[in-house]
């Protein structure tokens, strides 16, 4: 009896040992492949993400070796009581509310048009995609130039010549005209990307469906709403999530065109965060802003996944 149980134990131990050995061997084999990436990702992404949360609760001191005072939720409280923060928050949300539907609607229409055009398909595609591949810095400068105050700016010039306005508009001096310029730029730059994604989806719709609709006497508008829109629904979700997250990343164009002027009324969250960190050196406060933005983005992503059953869709 006893010897038997000892024997059993021994074999169990052996099994456990060989199991561990097996696991160790597997790691040993894969480590040369994933090791370097794992280290770099841990040190330069995962660790900063965790550190960011820690920093948000401190009065962070940038000097190495200097202690950082723990301040609890003070940084978050400061943000929630700051008028500038709420202005930036409002402008970020407005940017999303205006540019996401704008990009999607125009992008979809352009995609349907290109899908239907017989000649020059590729040329149109290239022309409409060029803003997508051009750096934000450069397109921001172009828009700043297009919307220059005074009669010399191209937009003011065109509006004056068409007698739509009688005096040149000072686009970048007023909150809402400046926000308008930022929104137009956001839509203008994003249309090409939406178009390309929608085109891929449209090309997946079999021709027989269009023919069947035609036989049934559907006009193009009915075909659009009753056939195309429902069939590309998964693509719409994919684009929606990407664009909303993208909208929270609105930054370069604001920094380049207004940098928040006049008086922070065109500021957006990331620009606000960046300036707090690298102009005012308030790293703890900036981290708190970053954590708030991160939570909002995650909440939106999760909510959308729940509501739209995005999981079923794999690109």
């Amino acid at each position: 009896m006893l010897s038997q149980s000892i024997l059993e134990n021994k074999s169990k131990n052996n099994k456990k040992n060989s199991h561990f050995k097996q696991k160790f061997k597997e790691w040993f084999e894969v480590l040369p492949f994933i090791g370097l990436g794992l280290v770099l990702l841990s040190v330069f992404v995962v660790y900063p993400q965790i550190k960011n949360i820690y920093m948000a609760f401190t009065n962070y001191n940038i000097m190495p070796g200097q202690p950082s005072e723990f301040v609890g939720f003070a940084n978050f409280m400061r943000a929630f009581h700051s008028e500038k923060f709420w202005l930036a928050f409002r402008n970020t949300v407005l940017y999303g509310v205006v540019t996401v539907p704008g990009q999607m609607a125009i992008g979809l229409i352009v995609a349907v048009l290109i899908n239907n055009v017989i000649k020059g398909k590729n040329l149109y595609k290239v022309m409409i995609y060029i803003p997508v591949i051009t750096s934000w810095i450069v397109v921001s400068l172009i828009f700043k130039y297009l919307f220059t105050d005074g009669k010399e700016g191209l937009i003011n010039y065109a509006l004056l010549k068409l007698h739509l306005i009688s005096n040149p508009i000072s686009w970048l001096q007023n909150t809402w005209t400046a926000n308008f310029v930022i929104w137009v730029l956001g839509i203008w730059k994003g249309i090409g990307w939406v178009m390309v994604i929608y085109l891929a989806a449209l090309q997946g719709i079999p021709n027989e469906l269009y023919e069947a609709a035609e036989v049934d006497g559907a006009n193009p508008v009915q075909t659009f709403f009753k056939i195309i829109i429902p069939l590309i629904k998964p693509t719409t979700f994919f684009i929606l999530i990407n664009l909303i997250i993208g909208a929270f990343g609105v930054f370069i164009q604001v920094m380049m065109i207004t940098n928040g002027a006049p008086l922070g009324t065109t500021d957006v969250l990331l620009n606000y965060m960046y300036n707090r960190a690298f102009s005012d050196f308030e790293f703890g406060y900036a981290s708190a802003i970053s954590v708030i933005i991160g939570i909002v983005i995650m909440a939106i992503t999760l909510l959308q996944k729940r509501l739209l059953k995005y999981d079923e869709f794999n690109y």
Binding site: Y129, I197, T301
Partner: protein, 277 residues
């Protein structure tokens, strides 16, 4: 399909309006860059250059160090593309073909880090780089570029590697080849189109990268093109011809790459989000 001639005409008109809205701002930039600067904006605005005045380009390139900034950007973009290509293909192969304890957990952590945009980490990343005394160095910049790209790149490439039939690998194993042989002689050659897409996006992504470079690089001579253009605009606010000539130096290579490798761009567009570190 709209087949009638009239229908096609309407479509062409609408598409022409849309294309014009996309192209006119660029024409405005090019025409301004090709016009001699006079400190006042040309009136009426010019869309078609009257001459081929190259003075702005020469001035930006020679007198304002844009030659150097161009080389800086080129160096960083090429180095990051090669490093990322190397590390990410290895990493993706590891996740696509190996079994090891904790694999799913680690891969989920990779995916989780992608849920928030990379820009949000810049403050903490700066403190990490500062702690390593790598502020104002290309080493620090490249570590953030490569590290920041790993999760997305691994995810993107893993998908391609998994589609490669396993039977091909079995023949190598029978012949006594190792995992490295498979990686080098099966996986890499068979995913050339994916790697080309990858390289193009990694290159153009680094070429246009702004925030990390703006945050880390302090010495003027080490600036990359996007940073140089921003500083330039602050310095020569009214010399738009010069500013746009400098901008075109940065934009033209990307547009050329786009036109040459169009099909990769359009296909890769879908993964664009995943590849922008």
């Amino acid at each position: 399909m709209v087949k009638s001639k009239f229908g096609q005409l309407i479509i062409h008109i609408l598409l022409l309006i849309c294309s014009a809205a996309m192209v006119i701002p660029f024409m405005y930039m090019v025409a301004t860059a090709l016009t001699q600067d006079t400190y006042v904006m040309p009136y009426p605005p010019i869309l078609i250059p009257k001459s081929l005045y190259l003075g702005n380009f020469i001035e930006a390139w020679n007198a304002n160090n844009f030659e150097r900034y161009f080389l800086n950007s080129l160096f960083l973009a090429i180095t990051n593309t090669i490093l990322s290509l190397f590390i990410s293909t290895l990493s993706a192969y590891g996740f696509a073909r190996f079994n090891f304890p904790g694999k799913n957990l680690i891969f989920n952590i990779y995916l989780f880090t992608m849920m928030v945009p990379g820009v949000l980490n810049i403050v903490a990343q700066y403190t990490v780089i500062n702690g390593m005394h790598l502020v104002d160095t290309y080493t620090g910049l490249l570590l953030l570029y490569v590290g920041g790209g790993i999760a997305g790149n691994t995810f993107f490439l893993k998908g391609f590697f998994e589609q490669i039939p396993r039977e091909l690998e079995e023949s190598i194993i029978i012949d006594g080849g190792s995992r490295w042989t498979i990686y080098r002689h099966i996986i890499l050659p068979l995913s050339k189109p994916a790697l080309a897409t990858f390289a193009i996006f990694a290159f153009s992504g680094t070429w246009d990268e702004f925030f990390t470079a703006l945050t880390l690089i302090k010495t003027p001579i080490k600036r990359t093109l996007p940073i140089a253009i921003r500083m330039f605009q602050g310095q020569f606010a009214t010399k738009w011809g010069l500013v746009f000539a400098a901008s075109l130096i940065a934009v033209i290579p990307i547009i050329l790459i786009f036109i040459i490798f169009q099909k990769y761009f359009i296909r890769g567009g879908i993964q664009e989000g995943a590849l922008k570190g």
